[in-house]
Amino acid sequence: MSTETTYARASRRQLASERPRVSQRSQFVGLYGRELLRTFRNPWVLVITFVQPFMWLAFFGSSFSGASPALVQQIFHTDSYIAFLLPGVLSTSMLTVGMFGSMSTIQDKRFGFMKRILLTPTSKATVYWSKVLGSTSRGLIQIPVMILAALVFGVRFAGDPLMWAGWILGIFFLGLGMSCFFLAMTASSTDWQTPGVISNFITMPLMFASGALLPLANFPAWMQAIASVNPVSFSSLLGRGIVVFGTVDWSYLGYLALFATGMLVAGTAIASRYLKAE
């Protein structure tokens, strides 16, 4: 009797037996693992992840290199614009992580992989969460690289480990919220252009109407109003307080947690209803 036949008979016997209980955790681990593997196996993603922080700090950070130290101190309340800029750049970079998650989802729909997933007992919510955390994780990879780049540019950091953990958690909440937003907006889309269009639409206003690149004190009142509800501002201000001044306002972290939770709840509801297989 061949091995195949023995196996087939065993298979037939097991057909009648009960199926393993569906484990959302197992499905999530599989899909999230897939997202990470795909990221780390794409050389371009890795190269850009490592090069981009240096470019950001080099180009933006040099914009005040010709200014006198006194002027820099007067505007930014620190003698290093790069130190001032670092939390803002990290926050801004989290604005676009959701776009990559959306594009990955659209690719899965286009090439039929979403159909393969949804033909297993995997809920749309699980697919959504794995995509959200996958794109957020991808954004978080930039944090150590950016900090390394800042050290190369001569930045000296303040704050203690607890503060730093809080700051990183804040960036995570921002990335999570933005990923939730993007993936919910594109749940039913199969058009490659959609994530880019949304990104173009929201990135500029959120970046410039925030304290990411410049101090809020110099903004006109209407921009300050936008900045006061802009999660990019809160992430930037949380980080700046810690990195530059060694102080922390935990209310910023609370706001970011609220933002992420709200987006996750709303996004899960939208994806559960509208996520399409193709």
Binding site: A8, R19, V22, S26, R41, F111, G112, F113, R116, P121
Partner: protein
């Protein structure tokens, strides 16, 4: 008593003004290979989407592996496998990683032995650590079937599994499908618009056209229903239809583009009459078809299964070709 692996009652799917599946009643016995045969846009893929819970049912009921698709879609999905017309795998993953992901999605606690057995069965064990993008089309198809079988499904849906494949790979796949059915005792529902594929593989067939089942039965039964031969005739000059109708033994005349299709009682008796009615140099091409599933389809629907004109572009074939072009 034989039980049904798939059962539908007045299954209907409406997209806007289009009724893609129209009150279909289907019974597929356990352990059989069942074929859904129809041209592009007939409703075959929509049937699979309905039966797998991938799209909502507009009206009627569907049961797969004993579970109601509408009420218990997750139970159904634990018991079905799926093989697509395009090969859908993670190209950057190894064969083993693709199986790992499938095991995770099906929440299988013990899967490695099964995966190894399947890879052995399909002759892929030595390549399990290789990335799928290095595989040939045939190997990719084998791996896709292995994925579909990993969780020991009771029903496997194969949606035009051989579309766009060369003849050798197609025949290799036919052997695999027969093997999967016999060796693993799994019910297979296969859609195809390749007549010879349905004839070679399926014990029972339903012909679907415009969302409706127009005929069902075994290939032998269906062929026996057509008590006629068909003569396909292409002429150099225009021919008067009445001239063709007047030929003894011709029971029906249809046109299909520049071609005439004559339904005749017995081709061997009618051919001499055709040659005497038309001058030999008037005939550009003549083709006789004895009863086959092709003539069954022709007889019932009045058109060939691969006849263009359904107005439904074959996107899956296009994507299948695109994917192969990328390899």
């Amino acid at each position: 008593m034989a039980t049904n692996a798939i059962l539908t009652e007045n299954l209907t799917k409406v997209y806007g003004k289009l009724t893609a599946v129209d009150h279909v009643n289907l019974k597929v016995g356990e352990g059989t290979v069942f074929g859904l045969l129809g041209p592009n846009g007939a409703g075959k893929t929509t049937m699979i989407k309905l039966l797998t819970g991938l799209t909502d049912i507009t009206e009627g009921e569907a049961y797969v592996a004993g579970f109601n698709v509408r009420r218990d879609p997750m139970h159904v999905k634990q018991r079905i496998g799926w093989v697509a017309s395009e090969v859908i795998l993670d190209d950057d993953f190894t064969a083993w990683e693709n199986l790992w992901l499938q095991a995770k999605l099906q929440s299988l606690p013990e899967w490695k032995d099964r995966a190894e057995n399947l890879l052995t069965y399909f002759g892929l064990l030595d390549r399990r650590k290789d990335r799928v993008k290095t595989f040939s089309t045939g190997m990719r198809k084998k791996l896709e079937i292995a994925l579909a079988l990993l969780h020991q499904p009771e029903v496997v849906f194969m949606d035009e599994p051989t579309i766009g494949l060369d003849a050798n790979t197609r025949h290799m796949l036919w052997d695999l499908i027969i093997g999967v059915n016999k060796e693993f005792g799994i019910t297979v529902l296969l859609t195809s618009h390749y007549i010879e594929e349905a004839d070679a593989l399926c014990e029972q067939i339903s012909i679907i056209d415009h969302g409706k089942f127009v005929a069902s039965g075994s290939p032998t039964d269906l062929k026996a229903r057509v008590k006629a031969d068909f003569v396909e005739l292409e002429t150099r000059e225009a021919v008067d239809e009445t001239k063709l109708r007047a030929i003894p033994g011709v029971t029906e005349v249809r046109t299909q583009g520049k071609t005439w299709i004559l339904r005749v009682s017995a081709a061997e008796e009618v051919l001499p009459h055709i040659f005497s009615a038309l001058k030999t140099d008037e005939i550009r091409r003549i083709n006789v078809e004895k009863p086959s599933l092709e003539t069954v389809f022709l007889d019932i629907t009045g058109k060939r299964i691969d006849q263009p004109g359904s107005d439904v572009p074959d996107y899956r074939k296009f994507y299948a070709q695109m994917r192969r072009a990328r390899q």
